[in-house]
Symmetry: C2
């Protein structure tokens, strides 16, 4: 067995071979923190979390870098106009870093809710301005970028001419032909500054009202969007690293531009495997402001978006996403989420029950075919993961096992049907694949209201027992509650309260 992963660059599944095993370098494009994370962000971050988890499970030492884009033009609805009055005192002005802080905080909260492991490094664009400037200088020195009016542009035509001869034309990843792009690209702002409309900005001159600005050899400005990923990936993972990931919408132009920038600077393609997850649609439509179907993660978790009839737990959303293989399309709807919620509960009920059972490894099986079937199902789990992270098939096999577990629980079969060793294998592999690999957390669902309700019921029963002179029962309740650190107080006149210790 070996992990096979679909490489967008070669358009085929390939065996994953790290450049320098056991080390693996993985770069994933992170969010722009100018707004709250939405459902569209959930899929890439969960997909690459599962890839990260699986690589760790395989024993690789992974450096997982996921950036935070905090440079550029930031605005919060209704606040931009205000900000442009430059005569105001500094404290009265909109400070983009306040928005960065607010949305970074919300983003981290959401990632934590999803049980995504923190990446090894989360570099920010504003934290790497110098590195970006250095990279731009290098690209200019090599003749692939030019300054125009305080901005710097990448010369795509020249790059394509030179690198086409090396079999690495501009468009190598997305398969887009530069001639077609030249024919179809619409006119852009500032395009008169550019030699060609396909050129992209490496550095932008900051207009007077632009707050985020840094000193550079070309005057005050800010970096273009693409250069940050090239600079930070090179800094933390080296000139050539193993995996570059992101949503399919980033293939062009973002990843194409990254390839061009890094290739000029480092003289090779930056990453070996380019991995892209497919998009999420909402009730069959593209997600977009005009459709009013952009569901923020907080709205998903509290059910406040109009297309939802209820709140969905982060684990339900995670499970919903992992029920499909990451390269397939995924249509989101309230109904689909409800189905996932129900399915997840069914799976976790069976799993948690089985996990609590004890099996003796010496016990032989009385139903060899069932025994073998269970072994097959669990042994297929790594095979599915290693076939381009087919979490859909992993989930399907988990559900094959649920009725067997429930039969054991309901005593329709006895534990002896299956050997103790096989039960132990099933337990161990379920824990590994559900909790470690898929990252599904057992949700407690316990709340204080429930505990209060149950305790008050006990106190009530105890009063009745005392009334019936059943002191054995009333003492038992008092003593056992005390053992749990729950003390009944104030019983004298019918009002009862209790405290936890």
């Amino acid at each position: 067995m070996a992990l096979k992963i679909y490489n967008s660059l070669t358009r085929q599944k390939e065996v994953f071979e790290p450049i320098n095993a056991p080390y693996v370098g993985m770069y994933v494009c992170g969010p722009t923190v100018s707004g709250e994370s939405h459902l569209g962000h959930a899929r890439p971050f969960i997909t690459f979390d599962v890839l990260y988890r699986y690589l760790l499970h395989l024993g690789y030492k992974v450096r997982y870098v996921r950036n935070i884009t905090d440079a550029g033009h930031f605005e919060e609805e209704g606040k931009v106009a205000e900000d442009k009055i430059t005569s105001k005192a500094i404290l009265e002005k909109l400070e983009p870093m306040e928005l960065v802080q607010k949305y970074t905080h919300l983003y981290h909260w959401a990632m934590d809710q999803f049980n995504n492991l923190p990446p090894s490094i989360e570099p920010t664009a504003t934290g790497h301005i110098i590195e970006q400037i250095e990279m731009i200088k290098k690209i200019m020195t090599d003749g692939f970028a030019y300054e125009a009016n305080g901005s710097v542009y990448f010369d795509v035509i020249k790059y394509n001419e030179v690198y086409s001869k090396k079999n690495q034309p501009y468009g190598i990843l997305s398969g887009r032909n530069l001639e077609d792009q030249l024919d179809t690209t619409r006119e852009l702002d500032n395009q008169d500054e550019k030699k060609n409309k396909v050129d992209f900005a490496l550095w932008k001159k900051a207009p007077v009202e632009h707050i985020m600005r840094w000193q550079s050899p070309w005057g005050e400005g800010f970096p273009g969007w693409h250069i940050e990923c090239s600079a930070m990936a090179t800094k933390y993972l080296g000139k050539k690293f193993d995996i570059h990931g992101g949503g399919m919408d980033l293939q062009f132009p973002h990843h194409e531009c990254e390839i061009a920038q890094s290739t000029v600077c480092n003289h090779e393609l930056p990453a070996r495997y380019w991995v892209h997850n497919n998009m999420i649609t909402i009730n069959g439509r593209k997600m977009g402001k005009s459709y009013n179907n952009v569901v923020k993660l907080s709205e998903l978790f509290d059910g406040s978006h109009p297309i939802l009839t209820q709140a969905y737990s982060p684990m339900t959303v995670r499970f919903f996403i992992l029920q499909s293989q990451y390269r397939g399309t995924l249509d989101f709807s309230n109904e689909a989420l409800q189905a996932s919620e129900k399915a997840l509960r069914r799976l976790m009920d069976a799993y948690e029950w089985l996990k609590a059972q004890s099996f003796t490894s010496e016990k032989k099986s009385t139903d060899a075919s069932l025994d073998q079937q269970l072994k097959t199902w669990v042994n297929e789990l790594p095979e599915f993961m290693e076939d381009d992270l087919n979490t859909a098939k992993v989930v399907a096999n988990l559900f094959e096992m649920v009725p067997v577990i429930n039969s054991l629980k309901d005593k329709h079969i006895t534990a002896e049907a299956v050997s103790g060793a096989t039960w132990q294998l099933v337990q161990a592999q379920l824990t590994l694949f559900i909790e470690q690999v898929l990252g599904i957390k057992v949700e407690s669902g316990v709340n204080k209201k429930q505990l209060n309700g149950v305790i008050h019921l006990l106190i009530d029963i105890r009063k009745e027992a005392k009334a019936k002179k059943d002191f054995a029962t009333s003492d038992k309740i008092r003593n056992q509650l005390l053992e749990m650190g729950i003390q009944i107080k104030d019983e004298k006149d019918g009002e009862v309260s209790f405290t936890f210790s």
Copy 2:
């Protein structure tokens, strides 16, 4: 009433007057994320969180900036030697930003546990290298810094000469006399580079093995510690802002150096009010590695440090710290924490009970003196806060009210003793001061184990009831549990389980 705050700069309590009300700019020195946060970090961050909360309560629009020091020399135990082998591939080398990520994550987790509000901006030193370089250039241009062998030093003697004439000598904040310092300062590394041993580094040349390094006009290096706070405070709060906070140990040299740097660049003292919390001692001793008494916050929360006999909740620690006024010394011990835990539970039990009661505002009081006493206690709460954040007195008054609340709860007094309006006032002010101002969160303390235990006890009682043919009781238990979404299953042969819906 007006907020009075002790200003370390003038060595007296002063009425707080913002430079540009309603805006308030506050800068607090944050942690160096080269290790896990410990008890010593808890006090400043909780102190300034309470100040932030109180300023917000007073209606100010506060921009609260708390930095993260992530530049400098980073090491993790046992990892540094390995890192120095520079021939290794980039992924095999220690990457300081991995440690930064790890410890920043832990730090944010701890701040969240303490219920500290996130600051408005959390700028990082590595995110502001350009701003620091620009500031150093300015200081050099003005003649208060000099380059030596790729490093840049601040000329303290010259600064003192020039600014003593303007009544702002070096040492103005800490009261230290420069001549005394010249006599007593011990010889330092690289001191031969420096003109005088009191000079401090603005920029340090990076030795070959130093990983964190940036291009600068003086070659590759990294910023000195003090310059980051000057650069970031100026950027986000302006040349002169309202409050600069930190632990008392930062007065000298850190804040003194900040004052010198910012004054040279901006021609005025950077902050109007300098606020310093006192230190925490542990069992009467200074905290330090040599005493083996550095308690990490995670060790505090799980009770794993040898000086602790149990785990303490973040709210217990917060409450313990707020039981003293921030400028007093505070001795930490296991016993003191136990006492705080008990006291907090007593307070919160009374508070939560009172909060759940309903009072009608029309009801008159039958005990005018008690009514007046309660009003006095709550009216004193803002007075104490406004007297230099005297949380110790706030807590004391809260405890004055606990026996009154408990008397009402225990029916030793009737609700009519006090007017409905006063009870409502007490309810509102307790919520304001306990939850909003002191930031004490109601802790649920509910866990699945407790709930399981209680339910199993009920199931047990139900079985006994059935054995005694007491079907009224057994049905009552089943039905009421069902109403709470708890279903008893598999009762047939003595094994009982249940599920939550």
